[in-house]
Symmetry: C2
Subunit: 536 residues, 2 copies
């Protein structure tokens, strides 16, 4: 069953080996494992629902609790310490667009606030009911809307109900020889509709495209009516309304169906790990690979600290020791070497040609390939890494990640500024923070910058929340000051809403809000996502 206060299936247990723990102790200090609140205690504190009865509503305490939290560290802290705050008043599981519409109309009638939910994997607070809003809250869970409605092999288009989760979507496609290829780390529980409305990016987006490139059309149930977006391969007919849905985060309506661009299963797929002597060589290499339009499916460059951390947490000290000695002989020294993971997908001839072209570029940057061994390991664990959050928590460590994207000239300074902001936020309260970074998505124009922060949770809820908020604020400010977007792949939600205006500008925010007022004049969907709280 899905864990109520952490990531994933509660049947999956990830344990840290001794070497990993020693490494973390050395980085941020020893810890006392925390005592989590019990589910029963949390449920006992949930007040009665403020919504009237309706045949589609579930007002059970557990359903309401589960529907009110995602995976932001703030959400975790509330659940783990049992300080849950406002929860949804009822949960509905509509099974059709018509039921979504019925529920929206009903919510307006009874004066409820509506929060749509796909897979509840948000790391930016989307699902949390707002503080200080007198209206009862209805959460629309889209998880029962998961059917494959149509598959057109000629156009390589599949239409799904938007609540379908990643594995279910891929399974339905694979049964017919197809795939989508959208693999964010949250893949196991994330929904197609959630991907679209938060502009999600997957690990192999370099080949298959960010969700913006996959989303070909769909159906949005807005409070004022139904917006049907037909599929065209391309169009010059005015502004593209798909782009008003992408990133709208439930403020303009509820996405109930989506057509996506699918692919045949690739004849060949390889992931190859290459080490480079230092950051400058690694950055120059990935930039040249991206700008050369080789067609790789993935470029993922860990900085020296992340490379070191990955190797230390991997276990297999003996094998890793041999690897490091080999790399050292080839010019990639401990302390400075960086790891690059490359993905190659396609026809056998295509993959062969891409590899040859990549090899020639990497050689010039003094790259040392270790073949597909580490790549296979990465592939096998690509959705398991996120379970580490549970294992680290059990040992008293919290993990958070923050990310942006910037043009190339800003990349190195942004990486340094994000890590430094995190370290400084903890130094101010006499704590240490282990910060490391990778470029998760590399473009011709620039790159995402994805930084992980590991730190001691803190002795109690207030201390832990204060640490997290100080970290979040410091890093978000570093992102904005460094000219980055507040998010490359996590979305805005409530946690990033205060920083959106820095990039959209006052005129841009006014336009986005005007569109919300157009689609949702009664602010039925205004729980504070995207724009933050406004006076009602």
């Amino acid at each position: 069953m899905r864990r109520w206060n952490g990531w994933g299936d509660d049947g999956v247990t990830t344990v840290l080996h001794d070497g990993a723990l020693e490494f973390l102790h050395a980085q941020v200090g020893a810890t006392t494992p925390p005592q989590d609140a019990a589910l029963a205690d949390a449920l006992a504190r949930i007040p009665a629902s403020r919504l009237p009865a309706h045949p589609l509503l579930d007002t059970g305490a557990e359903a309401r609790l589960r529907a009110s939290f995602g995976q932001s560290l703030g959400d975790w802290l509330r659940l783990r310490f049992g300080r849950i705050g406002p929860v949804s008043d009822a949960v509905a599981w509509p099974e059709s667009s018509a039921q979504v519409r019925e529920l929206l109309d009903w919510a307006r009638l009874v004066g409820a606030l509506v929060i749509p939910c796909g897979g509840a994997t948000s790391v930016v607070g989307h699902l949390r009911p707002p503080e200080g809003d007198a209206r009862p809250v209805l959460t629309l869970m889209l998880g029962r809307m998961r059917r494959l409605l149509a598959l057109d092999p000629l156009s390589q288009l599949a239409r799904f109900e938007a609540g379908v989760l990643g594995p279910d979507l891929e399974a339905q496609l694979r049964a017919q020889g197809w795939m989508l290829g959208h693999y964010p780390q949250s893949f196991e529980y994330a929904s197609l509709g959630g991907w679209v409305v938060t502009r999600s990016s997957g690990q192999q987006s370099a080949r298959y495209g960010r969700i913006e490139a996959m989303f070909a059309g769909g159906r949005l149930e807005t409070p004022t009516g139904t917006l049907e977006l037909p599929t065209f391969p391309a169009s010059a007919a005015g502004p593209d309304l798909r782009e008003w849905v992408l990133g709208s985060e439930g403020r303009y309506g509820v996405l109930t169906e989506a057509s996506v661009r699918i692919s045949r299963l690739p004849e060949r797929e390889d992931f190859v790990a290459v080490f480079l002597p230092d950051w400058a060589a690694g950055e120059a290499a990935v930039r040249e690979l991206a700008q050369g339009k080789l067609g790789l499916s993935m470029l993922r460059l860990a900085n020296a600290t992340e490379t070191l951390t990955t190797l230390r947490l991997a276990g297999h000290a003996g094998a890793i020791g041999w690897l490091e000695r080999y790399l050292s002989l080839r010019g990639c020294q401990p302390g400075s070497k960086v790891m690059l993971m490359l993905g190659f997908s396609g026809g056998a001839a295509q993959v062969g040609a891409m590899k040859a072209q990549a090899r020639s570029i990497l050689r010039r940057h003094r790259g040392v390939s270790t073949g597909t061994l580490l790549g296979k390991k990465w592939q096998a664990n690509r959705f398991k890494g996120v379970y580490l959050r549970n294992a680290l928590w059990a040992q008293g460590y919290a993990v958070d990640t923050m990310e942006t994207a910037v043009d190339w000239p800003r990349v190195p300074a942004m990486m340094a500024a994000m890590e430094q902001a995190g370290r400084a936020a903890f130094a101010a309260v006499g704590e240490r923070c282990h910060a490391y970074t990778h470029l998760s998505h590399v473009y011709a124009q620039g790159s995402s910058v994805y930084t992980t922060f590991v730190f001691r949770i803190g002795p109690d809820f207030d201390a832990a929340m204060a640490r997290w908020q100080a970290l979040k604020t410091a890093v978000c400010e570093a992102i904005v000051q460094g000219g980055g977007t507040i998010t490359h792949q996590h979305g805005v939600g409530k946690d990033h809403a205060p920083y959106l205006e820095a990039e959209k500008g006052a005129e841009g925010m006014a336009a986005l809000r005007a569109m919300a007022d157009h689609f949702d004049p009664d602010r039925l969907l205004d729980s504070g996502n995207l724009f933050g709280r406004r006076a009602i």
Copy 2:
């Protein structure tokens, strides 16, 4: 100097050879060359300007005449027959964003309607002042805003003032070893800003991207304020406001600056002509090439009638005869064979690999390559073909083109329906129409369908206008009924405005209009483009 009543530089004369004329006579009948109206007569009929004096305004008759027409066939008919109708009251040539803003503010003050203009190459009536609007009209010509403002080689971004024309833009980039690679047929006179606000697509968009993929940020002067769009390689921070500018056709504001994604000049570039035995083979081949993500820069497939027409109009009857006999021996018969032009750009190794992969696909579809000879010819004439319109007019023939894009299952029926609609519209008045089609842009999901119609102009303005309107209406209706977008690359303007709702829906149109009301509450920019005329 630029021709006032046709395409391009009036120093360029294109003459049809006898074989071409015979071919056209056979298709649609003999003609009487028309007598064009003289510029002096047209100018003499232009009324006095209704606008007060302003230091930035030119109220000269010729400037106003030239600013009021683009290249739609409707525009041509008005100019060639001297039935010019409403013209702009004044033309301004702002030299900065600040002057654009000053002019917008002034226009509001004096109650003028503003029509922004880039290179005046619109084929859908953007520049024509509306009939039946009491307000005086001010045309903002952006052609003096043509500077390269910044070039960032690391991010491969160049920022230009938006009025820069294609050749000037490429020349400024090439001086530093760079290129944009946006080549619509109107390249010679089309502006960067015009490309952005009409969602333009170039001949090599398969590699360099449609303008949507090139447009990284910019500055929009709206009637209510300035919208500044920063550049990020990618972002998940809410709806992407660039997409509200793309396709906005001057209804939301005036684009004054644009940052675009540029490329290094390719090491190698080849265009190769391949013939295939029939349409089915050609369509299957281009679909497989596009879906295989080979990275080609161009795929352009002419149907049998267009292939025949291209060969007949090319001249060199002897050489073409030899070519056709060779193709016939290889299985590509006259009457059924289709011509595919492929573009390969990139590093030498990359081009080599792409060619090998393309060859292997084309062989399976019975393609016969003729090497780069026809490709070089195509490349040399890529922007000259449009001058044929002048040569045909001089012989009494009008040419118009209409285009859409549809998912693959609809492509063959759409092609047939568009050609048939054109032929039927002329048959109804006892005339013939020579219709032929190519797929100008091929995607994994589907294709553009681009049909050309050649017909006799008609004895006078009213007859010619009636023929053209019957054609336009019939083909637009065929497009809409066949599930196509009303435009893949020409834009909406005034000519396509009545058909936009068919794809956007009532909800979509309401949202697009709400955004116009937000940015332009006084309808300063509402000349009828995009949404058609509304009551003031």
